[in-house]
Subunit: 267 residues, 2 copies
Amino acid sequence: MTESGENTSWMEYHRSVMDLGPLSIFIRKLLNRSPLSSNDQLALSRLPHDIIHLAPDTNLLCEGDRVTVCPILLEGFVCRYKVAADGGRQIVALKIPGEALDLQSAYVHTADHDMYPITPAVVARVPLTELEKLAAERPSIARALIVDVLVEGAISREWLLNIGRRNAEVRFAHLLCETFYRISEVAGLPVTDFDVPLTQQQLADVLGLTPVHVNRMVRRLSEKHAIRRMGRRLRVSNMTRLLEIAHYSDLYLHRTGHEPSSMLDEQ
Amino acid sequence: MTESGENTSWMEYHRSVMDLGPLSIFIRKLLNRSPLSSNDQLALSRLPHDIIHLAPDTNLLCEGDRVTVCPILLEGFVCRYKVAADGGRQIVALKIPGEALDLQSAYVHTADHDMYPITPAVVARVPLTELEKLAAERPSIARALIVDVLVEGAISREWLLNIGRRNAEVRFAHLLCETFYRISEVAGLPVTDFDVPLTQQQLADVLGLTPVHVNRMVRRLSEKHAIRRMGRRLRVSNMTRLLEIAHYSDLYLHRTGHEPSSMLDEQ
DNA sequence: CGGCAACTTGACGTTGATCAAGCCATGTGG
DNA sequence: CCACATGGCTTGATCAACGTCAAGTTGCCG
């Protein structure tokens, strides 16, 4: 979960595996859950797109918006959030590099939530029409996109359990475990350390807590040597400890590991 | 939200509109969000299936199960739930008549949660292969199924906001409002009164509260004349009051109202 | 170096959890 | 038709987790 600007080792690693241009990380992400022939991968890499850079906290999508373009996150972290009538904010999803940010817009044309980058972000924008054409021509691509949506749903369900039934400490640890697994997945190798790019305010909005209480949990997890505070930033350095605190199981992430190497034959 | 056995007026109303056999209510549900030609509707109604009756609290699906059949709920109420390591239960979705219970299984073959009927339930089971064949042949049906999945995702997100950021009273009121809208939708007309088929224990599992505290909220909402206690059962009788307590907006349900009458032309 | 935003800490309040006891509907068997 | 058993509801007393408020402190960027 390193700041997007920093181009850290695991990012570099990924790019070197198989270069399919800027969308390469997106294709790799899909490959983790769905088989795609090399022609499928090539077709995806040739999707027309432009690339934009976004500053943190600039709105990417607003409730009620109608959308004609599918944004794909290449670098940085983005969140979906909703606000209650009394102004309370809840972050309902965290998106990491390689993930499509708004596949639903292809089917449901008005957004029911807002979205903004948490770190500086780089986003590729693919016209929905092109994406739909490709999905219509290539069923395995359509399938891969749907699986992506379904896994996001599975994550929401786990978050419901997390917020509804786990106490602050375990809840926090669980979020860090999930983020670790998701990042390791796009990286293609287990990440050893990573820095959490969220402010304590944002962590509070994810976890359904107040910033003050998040701060207390940060201290608690530090004292248990599960995380470390590097200046103003949190570093996850002891996954074993975190996993046992959270009683974490990653079943719900539905990782299947379709390695690119094993997928080089045509459909 | 009347007990499934009772065959109440709004159920009857629905069946009389356009009789496409047992799956009729499912087709109507899809029509609420997606246009389907009468040929599409006919094709759906001819899906091979068997019909089973389920007693409450019998497991329908277990975490880790692999599935070959898509269950469609015809009568009664079913919930998805997850359990934490310490035994805490969280209901992560409520399914009402007309909804497909496990479309994800067509794409992600192991379940990440459990499912059981809350009331006696009637379920049609369609072989996944048949459903996939139909979706492949008829894009508008594929689309309708995906929209269904996406709306369930939107509901999860709203629940995250509900549990994460609203206090017990508002949270409870919000759940009742949502249920009202969803039931009215399949019914095809606004339902005036309905009875909540959940025990206070189950309400607690939905809301991330304890049964004791749910009970206190039941009393509070009764005192505000938003709901009534009929013996052991809750009756929602004053939607206006509930809507203002919850500050409810149904935007996230993505209702578009493709009336069956306006969809009689072929694609 | 100055200013700002984020973090930190302590004191105190409140919501909702826990525990425990009693009550009331509903269904069953005599 | 009544007795009684059972599961769910109700209630009060007490307690802990988390929220609120307010006043610092610290890292960070220009």
